[in-house]
Symmetry: C2
Subunit: 138 residues, 2 copies
């Protein structure tokens, strides 16, 4: 059996600093060009999703990933205007790195007032899930 065509696969990274600021980029490209978004991107053939998350975080923000914890899998067929894109989201621990924008990110920073922001894609839902699962018995 050959492998049938299916959805594309991305990763998204939820990173808070010690002051509960959220690491966000400004998207350099469409869709959602100029919008705030979580760091992330497409998974390459031959890398694990965890490796993809670490790589995309580094490429877009220069931040080095520590521990990863799975938040969820986001697969609504309409969540990305380019087509059906399924994203695996991780909460990622880091240690005091200063963000610096790169790759698909026009800017990258820890943002204090992220709760009122209009984020790209379904990234508000991803962040909400990450926050609600912070408790030790989530």
């Amino acid at each position: 059996m050959t492998i049938p065509a299916g959805p594309a696969l991305t990763v998204d990274c939820v990173v808070f600093d010690a002051e509960d600021r959220l690491l966000l980029i400004r998207r350099r490209n469409e869709p959602f060009k100029g919008h705030y978004a979580l760091p992330g991107g497409f998974v390459d053939i031959g890398e694990t999703v965890e490796t993809a998350a670490r790589r995309e975080l580094k490429e877009e923000t220069s931040v080095e990933a520590g521990g990863l914890r799975l938040i969820g899998v986001y697969s609504d067929p309409h969540r990305d205007p380019r087509g059906h894109v399924v994203s695996v989201a991780y909460r990622i621990e880091t240690e005091g790195h200063a963000p610096r924008a790169g790759d698909d990110a026009a800017a990258a920073a820890f943002v204090p007032d992220w709760e009122g922001l209009d984020l790209a894609f379904d990234h508000r839902s991803i962040v909400a899930d990450a926050v609600s699962r912070r408790a030790p018995c989530g």
Copy 2:
């Protein structure tokens, strides 16, 4: 930006009955033809991963899915001999359905002594993770 080529996406279903027997199929096709495996299969474009899990479970075993809980995402590039296939695994609750094989399954049954079986792909790891996360505070 267009969507780059990436890994394929599947779902796998971990279903126990009230006697802790594990729902397994015998694979009708290669790879791992004739081996025991978890019910599952490729995610179609346009369906969520949760819908794919319910659909594959129904097609292969005739069992109707109840509640789903995410176990993990399995993405080792070498876990499937056909190519890079990432699988999203769910623990699925059901209510007393008798399995009946269909689609890619040559047989389907709740198996009592599953711990000693040689399962296809990395399905032993998936089941081990499902079992270790059964505790309420997993």
